[in-house]
């Protein structure tokens, strides 16, 4: 029997590392007072494709149900959680989840995520808690070499507002910004008649870096109240991370949203060794507008597959094999208590020596049990 392309049976270290990532995540989020939430893996496509959620149906695993409605395998956690949280009591502010998402535009179709959502919480507290949970989690996983990047959706919105772009032009310009395609950014804006905004947006393409960029733009935007508020908000978050021991904080002021529901700060975490994105998220109050709710909401999702690849899984626990028989099995089982932090396997035949650090054989002689080390 074969599996569809991209699907695979997994064993051993890959599964162990992923389980560890989930386990550590559960411990960290429990310690920080998150409540777990789970949503079904099958949802209506419209939950994700409506105008506010804005995901593409073509990238989802989908089918028609008996009523002719399109159902999908969950392509995104945040949108599903938003749908679910509308029915939850608002006194619970912090939620955590873990499980798979399914997208046909990603390698492997299924990818595993663990994430948090914080609702009904003041802006800075919610965003700070998201980022501090992220660094707490990475620390617990012993992942120390990473870069956290901050961005903000309103910078693009504020700078392009005077251009009175059509929605098609906004999409084109946002795509060019997303690709850091400076010549196209300049060309689109100059055609709208503003050299000043064309120059501003083109230079924003390169506005990524550390506190030097923040300070440069704090000075540059000192006479624009809205942009100054944004850069000072980003600076405050960056300082929170710095004061919490994060070595590398980066900003990308030219970053634009890739989903319509983002509306404010955006986060991303990179593993420095291989450049993999280990988490991403941001503010998405707008997502709740579809449910006629006005809610402060922010969250991020970790890519558990990426984390699992970067966890050091050197086995440190000693492995012991107890060779028993049907007659001595109960005694062998009772011996486990003597080895609380050791991996103990009971077998009826001698194993290959290299599989275990120690092999003990139980023999029964005159109603007495004798343990012999092999």
């Amino acid at each position: 029997m074969f599996l569809p392309a991209g699907s695979i049976d997994e064993t051993g270290q890959t599964v162990d590392a992923r389980s560890q990532a989930y386990e550590v995540f559960r411990n960290v989020t429990t310690q920080r007072n998150y409540k777990q939430i789970s949503t079904p893996v099958v949802e209506y496509a419209n939950t994700f494709t409506n105008e506010i959620a804005g995901m593409k149906l073509q990238n989802m695993l989908k089918w028609f149900n008996r009523e002719g409605e399109i159902e999908v395998l969950r392509p995104d956690w945040t949108t599903a959680i938003a749908r679910a949280l509308v029915n939850q009591h608002p006194s619970q502010l912090k939620w955590s989840y873990q499980g798979s998402v399914f997208r046909s535009d990603k390698d492997g179709i299924e990818s595993r995520q663990a994430g948090i959502e914080i609702v009904h919480t003041p802006v800075f507290l919610g965003e700070g808690e998201c980022l501090l949970t992220a660094i707490h989690y990475l620390k617990e996983l012993n992942i120390s070499s990473y870069l956290i990047e901050l961005g903000h959706t309103a910078i693009f919105d504020e700078l392009t507002f005077p251009l009175q772009l059509t929605s098609e032009e906004v999409d084109q310009l946002r795509e060019a910004m997303h690709d850091k395609r400076r010549d196209v950014v300049y060309s689109i804006v100059i055609n709208k008649g503003s050299k000043q905004i064309a120059d501003e947006l083109t230079s924003l393409v390169d506005a990524f870096g550390s506190f030097d960029i923040i300070e440069k733009y704090e000075d540059k935007w000192k006479n624009n109240r809205k942009l100054l508020e944004i850069i000072q908000h980003i600076k405050q978050l960056a300082l929170l991370l710095k004061d919490s021991g994060v070595d590398e904080v980066s900003v990308d002021l030219g970053r634009v949203k890739n989903l319509p529901y983002y509306c404010g700060t955006m986060f991303r975490g990179y593993i420095k060794g291989n450049g993999a994105t280990c988490f991403s998220g941001g503010r998405y109050d707008k997502l709740y507008e579809q449910f006629d709710e006005s809610i402060s909401a922010v969250g991020l999702a970790f890519d558990v597959d990426v984390l699992a690849e970067n966890i050091d899984m050197n086995e440190t626990n000693q492995k012991i094999c107890i060779v028993a028989s049907e007659e001595t099995h109960a005694y062998a089982e009772s011996m486990r208590q003597s080895y609380p932090n050791v991996i103990v396997d009971i077998r009826y035949n001698l194993p290959e020596v290299h599989q275990f650090d120690k092999v003990l054989e139980i023999k029964k002689e005159n109603n007495d049990y004798k343990v012999v080390e092999k």
Binding site: E149, D179, K180, R182, D183, G209, N274
Partner: protein
């Protein structure tokens, strides 16, 4: 660690090396590389590949930067930063047919290496065509009766002319472009920014 640049083999490679030399970089090991596909210089690590593979190496972070034709970027839409045009590798995308042959009134068959670009071109014109994918020597298709026309890149037009084809429409203009891996640009900012800035200065001079 040295920045890794993926370079499209062939015409773009030659033009890039001239450009690179004009920026006072050492190109000696690159010119005398023989058949090697990976070459180290004092400052860089270079890999040489077909255009579409250049985008793959950059997308997956094997290479930090890539030099590739824009035709490849439009056709394959890799998830990379598509930074800026370079002052070489200029060409156009054109629809060409056999000289003196009537453009048939029935559904047309078009041969191309660039099937996505072809599909989008005819979609925008509101015309439904059959598209035949060819890997090269696309000019043969109308001559041998495989297709009514071709969509292909044109630099000087000489190949079309020598094969009895004529341009019916030109619809895109390209040059080579500098692309970057999305993570590398952020994580290796300190080493990549000076390189990118030197390329941009070179572009401005040209």
């Amino acid at each position: 660690m040295k920045p890794c640049i993926a370079l499209t083999k062939g015409r773009i490679e030659k033009q890039f090396l001239e450009f690179f030399q004009s920026l006072s970089y050492d190109v000696e090991p690159l010119i005398n590389k023989g058949r090697k596909l990976r070459v180290e210089t004092d400052q860089f690590s270079f890999v040489f590949a077909k255009g579409v593979d250049v985008t793959t190496y950059v997308e997956y972070g094997i290479a930090d930067l890539g030099i590739v034709g824009e035709d490849i970027l439009i056709e394959h839409q890799p998830d990379v930063f598509n930074l800026f045009p370079l002052p070489f590798g200029h060409c156009r995308m054109a629809l060409a047919t056999e000289v003196g042959k009537e453009w048939p009134e029935r559904k047309r068959r078009i041969a191309s290496t660039f099937t996505n670009i072809t599909k989008e071109y005819f979609r925008q014109k509101g015309e439904s065509v059959d598209i035949v994918k060819l890997e090269g020597s696309v000019e043969l298709a109308p001559i041998l009766g495989l297709a009514d026309g071709i969509v292909d890149i044109v630099e000087t037009g000489t190949t079309l002319k020598e094969n009895g084809l004529v341009i019916k429409d030109e619809f895109l203009e390209f040059s080579a472009r500098c692309i970057a891996n999305r993570s590398s640009l952020k994580i290796k900012r300190d080493v990549l920014t000076p390189v990118i800035e030197s390329f941009q200065k070179g572009v401005a001079v040209k």
